[in-house]
Symmetry: C2
């Protein structure tokens, strides 16, 4: 028999579908939004489902812990130095590709179709006949081609774009026209119209988007970051945006969130800020991932989306 | 031997690729942006390529006229009462689908992802965590499923939407989930999240988007019109938008263009106006259509995209 801790700001929205699934051998569920309550009540649980930042506070006090299903794609809080690694960690994958596509292509199309500028014209009562741009034939560079990057590549192809992919090693996405690895960052960036970063933050990706990479982009390029703020050298990015070496940026994530009031990004006219909302974890999407993995656990099968603590994703 | 009139505000951009194609049996090209000059010089031409509104002024004075290739999809100016119909008319098709997809999905995604609201938050220095919406699982209704509608349907499916199509008779698009015809307008509109009109303006489509159709939409629906203004009853549309029976509208076309300053649409907060720029005719797209059709003409083959004067498209 298993005992499950659900620790999330949307705990009740996870409890409902999981209870409805009537999972076998699930003896108890501790359901809370509060890490302090979890600390008091969840000591006997061997399974946990929840947000990595909350779970990180509780895991040290769960002696029976066997498996954690994170509700996020990013599990950095659980990879911090000194935290235990004696359990199986799975993250949320396969559900963010379509949300990320909507975010990224919403902003790419807003850029090409001059949506903000046309709205300003409308406010001024001006019939604006400015010729818009088009994604067709343009080049998008994807930093990271996992399940999210593959979804972006597929959507990009649908809009007639050419797709460059920069990855650690993989090269099996049918919608990527050209792959780049390792030191190929400069060749990867040359001639891109859009650079989109969906890399996880690991020791290997820390500040990967640096001055060198940004200088390799043409000045017409727009940088979009719905991934992780720590993958970017923010000083180098601000410098590229201020000097006009980069046309613009759409930033969902930052090294410090919420973005502090003193950040230069609030004041740059060619930056759009979206408050870490590019890909929200909806319980309706994530609960089925947990349910599927729970059934695999009972059956002694390999769980999906297991995180490699060494590789950090 | 043929003689071609090119009459367009971008005449030189058409002349260049056509001259470069070194078409056989093309004895002369009269190239002008000015209908008055065309009237003086083009009397001997048997072929014409250009904008329907300009060509309509010149065609009566072209006794040898055999074939007209319009640079637009909409050819209403050439279908007016009293104008000659003793020549073959082809329009521009097959090139606007991707541009229309970028326009429509740019605005659908801007609506779901709250792009304008987030920009306002940013201007106020506010870290905006409002949960965005998603196209996935939503319903789009297409008024018209020709080549443009089919491109929209394909993109909609790519974003996980359900697609309803309202057509005169066709039902062969693989990306349409359900077809509606004739009096089925109300059933077609029920439960739509988005209604997009890409119908040509004909006697049969005149004011088809009327109070009856608009009242059948749920109040969450957004109407998008990149087609023709005369297909819409603008009073009924303004009424639906003002009364809250319709969430919003994105309007590229109007009964009068440029939209007059006194139009109520300038003042409605839930309307976005885009100045008839949804699908621009780019000579780089249209010249190849002319060149292909010219070669078909020489070979005695059927031309592509012939307009039926009776059907009006």
């Amino acid at each position: 028999m298993h005992r499950l801790l659900i620790l999330s700001r949307r705990a009740a929205d996870y409890e409902r579908p999981i209870a409805a699934a009537r999972l076998p051998d699930l003896a108890a569920m501790i359901v809370t939004e509060d890490p302090a309550e979890a600390l008091r009540r969840a000591g006997g649980c061997d399974l946990a489902l929840g947000e990595p930042s909350l779970l990180a506070q509780v895991l040290p006090q769960m002696p029976a812990l066997q498996w954690v299903q994170a509700t996020w794609a990013g599990v950095e809080p659980l990879l911090a130095q000194g935290l235990r690694r004696d359990y199986m960690l799975t993250n949320a994958r396969g559900v963010f590709g379509s949300l990320m596509s909507e975010y990224v292509f919403g902003y790419l199309l807003a850029h090409e179709r001059l949506i903000l500028a046309r709205y300003a014209s409308q406010q001024a009562g001006r019939w604006d006949r400015t010729t818009p741009g088009s994604l067709r034939g343009k080049r998008i560079g994807l930093l990271g081609v996992g399940s999210i990057g593959a979804a972006l590549a597929r959507t990009a192809r649908g809009f007639g774009m050419r797709v460059h992919g920069y990855t650690r090693s993989s090269r099996d996405c049918p919608d990527v026209d050209a792959y780049f690895h390792g030191d190929d960052r400069v060749a990867f960036a040359a001639e891109l119209d859009y650079l989109v970063c969906v890399l996880p933050h690991t020791a290997a990706t820390h500040r990967l988007v640096d001055g060198l990479l940004l200088r390799a982009l043409p000045p017409r390029a727009v940088f979009v970051n719905p991934g992780r703020g720590d993958v970017v050298d923010e000083d180098a990015l601000a410098d590229a945006l201020q000097s006009g070496r980069l046309a613009g940026a759409v930033l969902d994530v930052f090294q410090r969130e919420p973005l502090p009031p003193e950040s230069v990004f609030w004041r740059l006219p060619n930056v759009l800020i979206t408050g870490h909302t590019a890909a929200i974890s909806f319980p309706a999407d994530i609960a089925p991932v947990f349910i599927d993995n729970y059934r695999r656990l009972l059956a002694g099968e390999k769980l999906k989306y297991e995180v490699d603590f060494e590789r950090q994703y």
